[in-house]
Point group: C2
Chain length 423, copies 2
């Protein structure tokens, strides 16, 4: 009897009917002979509604109290799911993050799980009950205060709990059928990816794919916990995120590109006319970092005529004003000429473990964009990813063209295979 952790998101639990449907699926898993531990998010938009209430009461609510407030959302959904399961004849017991032994640090709103001591969950399982655990929340090791793990963190709770319990796998139920080769709203012919490695999924999540959160995938990779992302509205197989064996990574006929991700949440800042002095770039990025801003891509170009450099970088759009303020404050000290802020950019990323051994990918990528008349403004790469910044208006076309060029579409008979021996 294998133990499975199942996580259900807010869209699957939007109303009483959704909750009853989820309960039936949980009961079916038990009837199929599995032990089940359930992790739930808050119903529908509950968390946002609670945030709005907080805003009405206080412009800057203390983090401890905001966490106390927001965790009410999962308390409601977990109790209702437990009731719905009980109504189908199975014993169910709901547990808060604290009761489930989710011990975190004290960083309210973005706490990190330190460890999980799931004694009460194990006892419930031993009693034959189905534990239903609140996602997104824990209790701080030091102050014993209630904490939240940040947006989308119910997935992280599920994976961490699965690891702590030694589960066989962690199923993440959501409102889409799995991870796709591109966003189907942009590329209707995008295909579901049946299997993807942790590394590729990390790059996908970091590059804007929203179906799984970065931290959840990082946990899964660390604990080697297989994740099955699937729809709560159907019984179809979804996407398995797993530890790729060396054999699999080396498969010669594996498609080079696993998927195309995109991200509209960034902006760029160009610092123009920077004097050629040692340490200037360091000073600049230190100022931005001190403002609490994480930057993404950096490109430097130097004019051979003036000897002055331009540095452009991308950052989360909502941090734009803060970054500009921080840079203006050091303008006199550094002596750069001007700042240009641009929030009309989009980032497209190709991800694929097969890229490691195939040098032709960049050229084909840039070629596909060029054929569509799309101008590339910045480029960055990792071992298994190539990203390009383009005009926001060109982003959809860039995703479609790239997806097509690498043979990822549903109708295409075969994906592009570099150096493949054929079958």
């Amino acid at each position: 009897m294998a133990l499975v952790v199942q996580k259900y998101g807010g869209s699957s639990l939007a109303d009483a009917d959704g909750i009853k449907r989820v309960a039936q699926r949980i009961a079916a898993t038990r009837k199929a002979g599995h032990e089940v531990v359930v992790v739930v998010s808050a119903m529908g938009d509950t968390t946002d509604e609670l945030r709005d209430l907080a805003k009405q009461v206080s412009p800057l609510p203390p983090g401890r109290e905001l966490d106390m407030l927001l965790t009410a959302g999962e308390r409601i959904s977990m109790a209702l799911v437990a009731m719905a399961i009980a109504n189908l004849g199975f014993e169910a017991r709901s547990f808060t993050g604290s009761q489930a032994g989710v011990i975190t640090d004290s960083a309210h709103g973005k706490a990190r799980i330190i460890h999980i001591t799931p004694g009460r969950i194990s006892s419930a399982l031993a009693d034959g009950a189905i534990p239903v655990v609140a996602g997104f929340q824990g209790v701080s090791q030091d102050s014993k205060d209630i904490t939240t793990l940040g947006r989308g963190a119910s997935d992280t709770t599920a994976v961490a709990l699965a690891a702590a319990l030694g589960a066989q796998s962690c199923e993440i139920f959501t409102d889409v059928d799995g991870v796709f080769t591109a966003d189907p709203r942009i590329v209707p012919a995008a295909r579901r990816i049946p299997r993807i490695s942790y590394e590729e999924m990390l790059e996908m999540a970091a590059c804007g794919a929203k179906v799984l959160h970065l931290r959840c995938v990082a946990y899964a990779k660390f604990y080697r916990m297989p994740i099955h992302v699937r729809s709560s509205f159907s019984s179809k197989e979804g996407t398995w995120v797993f530890e790729a064996s060396e054999a699999e990574e080396g498969e010669v006929d594996q498609p080079i590109i696993t998927g195309v991700a995109h991200d509209r949440s960034e902006a760029s800042i160009t610092v123009a006319g920077i004097p050629d002095k040692v340490g200037v770039a360091a000073t600049m990025f230190r100022a931005v970092a001190n403002a609490g801003i994480n930057i993404d891509m950096i490109v430097q170009s130097t004019s051979s005529v003036t000897g002055r450099a331009d540095i452009a970088f991308t950052l989360p759009r909502q941090d734009g004003q803060a970054a500009i303020g921080a840079l203006h404050a050091i303008q006199d000290a550094i002596g750069f000429e001007s700042l240009v802020f641009d929030d009309r950019i989009g980032k497209i990323s190709l991800i694929g473990a097969g890229m490691r051994s195939h040098p032709g990918v960049s050229a084909d990528f840039f070629g596909a964009l060029a054929d569509s008349g799309i101008n590339i403004r910045m480029i960055s790469t990792s071992e298994i990813r190539i990203s390009a910044v383009v005009d926001a208006a060109d982003l959809d076309e860039a995703v479609s063209a790239t997806h097509r060029a690498f043979g990822l579409e549903d109708g295409q008979s075969e994906a592009v295979v570099y150096g493949g021996t054929g079958r």
Copy 2:
């Protein structure tokens, strides 16, 4: 610096504006030099809305899960109140019933407080913070599960916490100005009672006065904790519920009647034609008690002609069907002739500690009802109370006539004083 526990009910916390108003009152109490511990109910109709959700998911939700669900209501309001206080420049910390050390038995939905270990509340006070505690909830001693104390139990939490902390008094903020000599919706001239003894308040609450719950008053009496019932919408003095000194109880010019309570929630059952055998009444009431029904008044009358008896009793209206079922089941064994169920009754009660030494009260009470043409169907008395069951249609007139007859009205120059020496 005296410690005061303040309890705010759902109607005072109906929306963001209500919460901000409550926070201002709490801050004002602190500015006046008092230490404050706050106990809150859920906002407005939150608890009822959560109950409705539970009903949609399961016809008979497990008590443990229903308690888990319902306690989300106070979690929301306590966090919001703490935020609103913080926004006024005072440190506030919210605590669940469990965090506040409210230890109960395991009777979900109607748990009893076993003891309170308010270590975290005391620490918060020592740090200069204002603790905001969830009413209505606790944690069971045996299973460590979340429990609720039943309807209206936030008042009980407040009084028990005040006792555990050695507070000077417990202020219960509500949407009325205090305890009145009668329901002002029936008797517009009803007066606020400035001071009332625990015993009188217990009788008032038991006889239908809704402003304070019976168990809360019983706790206050046991711990001799003074309660101040007052409006959260004004700064007027309300009603003090306190331990009457013997001197006060013996005051000769004290009004005999403190107030008139009424209750529309009961029904009566008449068991007619009961054979005159030993033990029949015991068998009957055992059957009703085994169905979990608490009965209130009992009247027996025996016919000198037939030798058979009629027994009539009152009980909560919603238990009527269950009681009739239990009695029908023993009809053959007992041999009574018929059952009559009547839910068109009302109960009026006069309460007053002065009644103890003044035998004329009953006669005046029955006289007032007779003068208004109201027929009395059942009577019961305690040392400081007289209750009568009348037709439901006559109840309002009975309350008004009695209130007037005993001189309790606002415009009346003086209440009726039996054997008083005058002033």
